[in-house]
Amino acid sequence: MKYAIYSQHPDINPEMWVDIDKIIAKWRHIPGSVITVLRECQDIVRYLPSELIVHISKGMQIPVSQVFGVATFYSFFSLTPKGRHNVKVCTGTACYVKGIKETINRIYGKYHLKEGGTTEDRRFSLEGVRCLGACGLAPVMVVNKDIYGAVSAEKVVQILEKYE
């Protein structure tokens, strides 16, 4: 395939490149599929390094500026590396009223981890996300795919310590 020119990248191994090309081949003829391609590629690499964005743009035959524009527009995409465990704290109104701020402060106190940041050892990334729609459990935190409800500042460290 013409677009399969690989750049060296520490976070993308050869198998990943093969999978990425499969994704591009599957979607390149379907209009409007850039978001889907970015999503699937991010699932593999866990973030979108600029080399990958350039690669996708060549493969999809869409200007880099456009792919980059889409990748930066949506909060789902990350252009910086993520930690092994992705911690999402809900910053929706119900969680806010129920004190997610204290929880976030406690996470900062313990791990020096700010919203949008990753710990140095790449153990955790912290994301403040829009309402997760689980307001009945506020304040809510999601670690990888596990949902935790009523996460008070007291409980949060105890929960996070389970993730190595």
Partner: protein, 595 residues
């Protein structure tokens, strides 16, 4: 062979899932097996029951007994006592907080008894992953009627009679929208479902998709017939993985049954639906932005007209309806528009689903007839405010809405009446706030949200919200100046009048409504440099008042920054150089000793 004697409807919604319903299911299965009741007692995992606050919940049919907060350890007792001997397990039943009386039946619990289920009529009654259960509850009968007996005009007339208005927030009559799209010229037309539920505090669409996905598909089929469209998309938030999964299952099953795809039910009508996952942008809830997003572009709105009904997705006539709106459609077609319009007020018909959350006892999802007062919603259904605190306001409509204070609680739920008091119906988020909520901080919170989510295309929204936010942040930090309130009002007016899309046009609402009803709090922040609710950390002194301190040491234990020194029988001292103003000591102190 044994016949199923007891049906257990165990809630598998996101709320109950996180409180451990899966473990409960396994424990129950084991116990049922052990007691030899397999075949007699059957477990169904349903979608969200609505009463998320007391999860995991289970309803035992046929009697309709409601069990709450079930743990795996309770399985043995439930099976032995209730299912084997017929004695209810008292300690797991609902207890009325007002008089401590036990209410065993779900329908008698005040939370449920004031509700009328239309959009959520199947919630907790069917397994959302089994199409037959939906069909057994008259599912797809509406679509069949629309496809075989009705003309597009008949459908649109029925929708107009029903008075159903868009449940996503704006309240535009659904039938009218369809009429415009039907009359628009073009061979290719699209039916879109807006499942990009973005308002913080609103989760009814997620719940409907998770508990009854077929009702949305059926609504889309009927809409497709009305405007002669053959392709539909459901634009769903990627934050809702369970909803996406269940929609996928529902679409596959509907295709297998010949209810989607080519020649639906032999009527010669083709319609196909695809799920499109959003990638996290609040503005994509705006119709033109949503369409740009499906086209694979940055989700930025474009000026209207042309309206999507003329030129929408890929430039073709398109209708976009919200999940809750579509979930009502099949019943309107089946039972008639007049039936739907039989409840409600003069201008708002039918029911509305609210996501009740915040400082209220019964957090969860409720569906009430239009015209119900906010008081009924908060007190009768919501059970009032917990911890003997006082009601302050209810926030309706999320970042585009406003706060309704106590004196307007008699306002009926009605599109026009609610906007008269400065809020909007919105998508149905109802966040109750008690007297520990700071309204300036609340306005700041919403503005922060809007500022973050503003797509940046038009200047008033991009820059205006930023300045409003700066003003509010300064107030919360004790740096507010005289004249700030006037400037807020002026800026809000400009942003409201000159923004391109609904996001910007409604963005100042939270500021305006709090200013209208809680101006004294703004003034306290600006002139007295105090936060009456003691929420803004910069306006809290973090000093321990020695005559109030009971030397209990709770603050010392709660401090994450080791800023508090305390010994037994000594008043605690806060070291301000170490204090990170996290408020945990303040929250812990039972004696209001921290200033």
């Amino acid at each position: 062979m044994n016949q199923t004697r007891i049906q257990l409807m165990l809630c598998g919604g996101t709320g109950c899932h996180s409180t451990g319903c899966e473990k409960v299911r396994i424990a129950l299965l084991q116990e049922i097996e052990k007691q030899g009741l397999a075949g007699e007692v059957e477990i169904t995992i349903t979608g969200c029951n609505g009463f998320c606050a007391v999860g995991p919940v289970m309803v035992v049919l046929p009697e309709g007994i409601f069990y709450q907060k079930i743990q795996p350890e309770d399985a043995a007792e439930l099976v032995e006592s209730h299912f084997l001997r017929g004695t209810l397990v008292q300690r797991l039943l609902y207890k009325n907080p007002a008089n401590k009386k036990i209410i065993p039946k779900m329908d008698d619990i005040p939370f449920f008894s004031s509700q009328v289920f239309r959009a959520m009529r199947n919630k907790g009654l069917i397994d959302p992953e089994v199409i037959d259960e939906y069909i057994a509850r008259d599912g797809y009968f509406g679509a069949a009627k629309a496809l075989t007996e009705m003309s597009p005009d008949d459908i649109i007339n029925e929708m107009m009679t029903s008075g159903l208005r868009g449940r996503g927030g704006a309240g535009f009559p659904a039938g009218m929208k369809w009429k415009f799209a039907k009359e628009a010229k073009g061979d290719v037309k699209y039916v879109l479902c807006n499942a990009d539920e973005g308002d913080p505090g609103a989760f009814m669409d997620r719940s409907i998709l998770e508990s009854d996905p077929h009702s949305v598909l059926e609504g889309m089929i009927i809409a497709a017939k009305a405007i002669n469209s053959h392709k539909g998309y459901i634009y769903c938030r990627s934050e809702y993985p369970l909803a996406v999964k269940r929609l996928g299952i529902a679409i596959d099953q509907a295709k297998d049954y010949g209810l989607l795809g080519e020649d639906i039910l032999g009527s010669g009508f083709d319609f196909d639906v695809e799920v499109y996952q959003g990638a996290g942008a609040f503005v994509c809830g705006e119709e033109t932005a949503l369409m740009r997003s499906i086209e694979g572009k940055r989700g930025m709105p474009i000026p209207r007209p042309p309206f999507p009904a003329q030129k929408g997705l890929w430039g073709k006539p398109t209708i976009l309806n919200n999940v809750e709106t579509l979930a009502n459609v099949a019943q309107i077609i089946l039972n008639g528009g007049k039936w739907y319009a039989s409840i409600g007020t003069a201008t708002s018909k039918g029911t509305k689903v609210f996501a009740l959350s915040g400082d209220v006892c019964n957090i969860g999802l409720v569906e009430v007839p239009m015209g119900t007062t906010l008081k009924t919603l908060v007190y009768d259904i919501g059970g009032g405010i917990p911890d003997k605190r006082k009601f302050k306001a209810v926030q309706l409509g999320g970042p585009s809405g406003g706060c309704v204070p106590e004196r307007y609680l008699d306002t009926p739920i009605d599109y026009e009446e609610i906007s008269k008091v400065g809020a909007i119906m919105g998508s149905g988020g109802a966040i109750v706030m008690d007297n520990t909520t700071c309204m300036v901080d609340m306005a700041r919170y919403f503005m922060d949200f809007i500022q973050d989510e503003s797509c940046g295309k038009c200047t008033p929204c991009r820059e205006g919200t930023k300045h409003i936010l700066t003003l509010l942040e300064n107030m919360c930090k004790g740096k507010g100046k005289p004249g700030d309130i006037e400037q807020l009002l002026e800026l809000s007016d400009v942003v409201k009048k000159s923004s391109l899309c609904g996001l910007g046009q409604t963005a100042p609402n939270p500021v305006l409504s709090t200013l209208k009803y809680f101006r004294d709090e703004y003034e306290a922040h600006i002139f007295d440099k105090t936060c009456p609710a003691k929420i803004c950390p910069d306006l809290v002194k973090f000093q321990v008042e020695s005559d109030k301190c009971k030397m209990c040491g709770l603050c010392f234990k709660s401090c994450p920054a080791d800023a508090i020194t305390w010994k037994k029988k000594e008043v605690a001292v806060i070291d301000k150089t170490k204090c990170i103003k996290c408020m945990s000591c303040y929250d812990k102190c039972k004696f209001d000793a921290i200033l």
